[in-house]
């Protein structure tokens, strides 16, 4: 089982294999033998991993490898989850986690027949209900809209926005309140390079200044370079759990993409030899 101490992002090329030296900082997510079954398929097969706090962890892998299912399990919306899955110190799906996690689904989940501001105002009222919090909510909504660069569109109907803008409204909802853990399912898909850069700067800002943990899935490998840590997935299993630098060094490659392809080829080769052995 791979187990790394949570710590600040480092550029040293040697993955630390020492036992956790700072036990007080429990990981944001800790999974042991995490298995998820959807219909006839076992989507996640006995995953063991941890996501350190205060960092950006990238979740990468080809589409259909179980990234979204893993995220849904962490947020607590996935049924048929077995094994251990602790999130922020509580079992995943625990009611007290509902205000502490921000979650963005792959498809933007906002009300098309409400304006950007009305959308956010409603979700803010669910997170912090009551008249006493109304001023705080207003500031929170304004800040979240500014964070995703939609201030000029605040009074436009979400349904009239472009696809990229709608997904940013959905992202803004997750930024409401002060979530300790942000689970973002492909938040930059379909966005232009400038916006993608701005959002990644925002993610780093959230991690650095608010001390939040971010788990971001992507299948764009150049985004992987911007993460502190990476979880590489393939067919419901974790191929690697490391820093981008360590991955490149370990596989003797120049990019995370090359490292990922190298690991996939290795896994396929391993599968084949195993099949041959079982066939024998």
């Amino acid at each position: 089982m791979m187990n790394y101490p949570p710590g600040p992002p480092t550029n040293d090329d040697t993955p630390s294999t020492a036992s956790p030296s700072t036990p007080s900082a429990s990981p944001a997510v800790r999974a042991e033998d995490l298995t998820v079954v959807r219909g006839p398929r076992t989507v996640l097969r006995g995953l063991d991993f941890t996501v350190p706090r205060g960092q950006i962890t990238g979740l990468l892998g080809p589409s259909g490898c179980g990234k979204s299912t893993l995220m849904r399990a962490i947020v607590g919306t996935q049924a048929k989850v077995t094994g251990t899955l602790d999130v922020l110190g509580s079992p995943a799906g625990h009611p007290t986690l509902r205000t502490r996690i921000g979650y963005v689904t792959q498809a933007p989940s906002v009300y098309d027949d409400l304006t950007v501001r009305q959308n956010l105002a409603y979700f803010a009222a669910i997170l912090a209900p009551g008249r006493a919090a109304s001023e705080r909510r207003h500031d929170d909504v304004t800040r979240a809209i500014a964070d995703v660069g939609l201030t000029s569109h605040a009074d436009a109907l979400a349904g009239n926005l472009s696809g990229g803008q709608r997904s940013r409204v959905s992202l803004a909802v997750a930024l409401l309140g002060t979530p300790e853990l942000l689970v973002l399912d492909e938040p930059t898909v379909g966005l232009d390079p400038v916006l993608r850069r701005d959002l990644w700067n925002l993610f780093h800002d959230i991690a650095a200044r608010r001390g939040a943990t971010l788990l971001i899935s992507s299948h764009v490998m150049d985004e992987a370079e911007r993460c502190h840590r990476l979880l590489l997935m393939r067919e419901g299993r974790i191929l690697a759990d490391d820093t981008p630098d360590a991955l490149r060094t370990r596989t003797h490659t120049d990019t995370v993409e090359a490292a990922f392809l190298h690991l996939v080829d290795e896994a396929i080769a391993a599968d084949r030899t195993q099949q041959k052995e079982t066939a024998r």
Partner: protein, 275 residues
């Protein structure tokens, strides 16, 4: 509904309990007035961006009553009984349709999943919808009842307020049924088809076309357990009696009870964890 992922067997010993940087999260009780009100306001706000739907919901019952009045131009007694029944049936049907589509959209757009991952109680969501559509139903029923009583000479012996009360309860029942069946519809096509499946049999058996005691005994027995029968019975009680009769009270209680029961069933179809 909870899964075995919750096997928190105290393996988190290293760090001890997590100390969050934020204050303790607001408790997620079954029913929170602020969250319910926020949900109702949101549903109404969504409708406000869709004025055509509002206009259709409010005008169609009035137009139908007007039509009916002159269909039975030479037979005002028939208009009295059918008109009163329809005052109870319209809100049920409209609210059923609107609610089933609205909640289906909530399910398919992913906003339901998002809301249930937030500290929103299922009861808050259901009550929010019931409240929002209840307000619309009051407007709809008030206009239809007013039109029927004052302009179309619907001859009501009892108080028009009681007609309004039954209409409102019918609307609530429609909302409840719509919420419930939307759980079984995977698309708008299916949701619309639930209208004939759930509403039409009740319409045929509720006593609108012929008194229920003249039906085949089997059908009469079935009509005895369908809530719309009591909605129509209640309307007819108001039509014929000056004061609240025991039958009227029974009818009203049955309709209200059914609405609450089905709302509860609707809440049970909302799952925080889905496959």
């Amino acid at each position: 509904m909870s899964t075995s992922a919750h096997t928190d067997s105290g393996t988190n010993t290293g760090g001890g309990p997590t100390r969050g940087t934020t204050p303790a999260p607001a408790p997620t009780s079954a029913l929170n007035a602020s969250r319910t009100a926020a949900t109702a306001a949101r549903v109404l706000r969504q409708l406000r961006h869709d004025p055509r739907t509002i206009a259709l919901m409010i005008l169609i019952p009035c137009v139908m009553l007007l039509l009916l009045r002159y269909v039975f131009d030479g037979n005002p007694r028939t208009f009295d009984s059918i008109g009163a029944s329809l005052l109870g049936i319209f809100p049920l049907i409209t609210m059923f349709l609107v609610t089933s589509i609205a909640t289906l959209r909530e399910r398919t757009s992913g906003t339901l999943e998002r809301l249930l991952a937030m500290p929103l109680g299922k009861g808050d969501l259901i009550a929010g919808y019931a409240l929002a559509f209840g307000i619309l139903a009051i407007i709809q029923s008030a206009l239809a009842t007013g039109l029927a009583v004052w302009f179309l000479d619907l001859d009501v012996t009892g108080s028009p307020w009681l007609l309004l009360l039954v209409a409102l309860l019918d609307a609530l029942l429609g909302t409840a049924l719509g919420l419930f069946v939307s759980a079984f519809a995977a698309s708008e096509f299916q949701a619309v088809q639930f209208m004939p499946a759930v509403i039409f049999p009740q319409l045929l058996l509720c006593g609108l076309f012929t008194p229920r005691d003249t039906m085949h005994p089997v059908l009469e027995a079935i009509s005895d357990v369908l809530p719309m029968s009591y909605a129509v019975d209640g309307m007819n009680e108001v039509l014929r009696h000056t004061d609240m009769t025991a039958t009227f009270v029974r009818d009203v209680l049955i309709v209200a009870g059914c609405a609450v029961l089905v709302l509860g069933l609707g809440a049970a179809t909302l799952r925080r964890r889905t496959a």
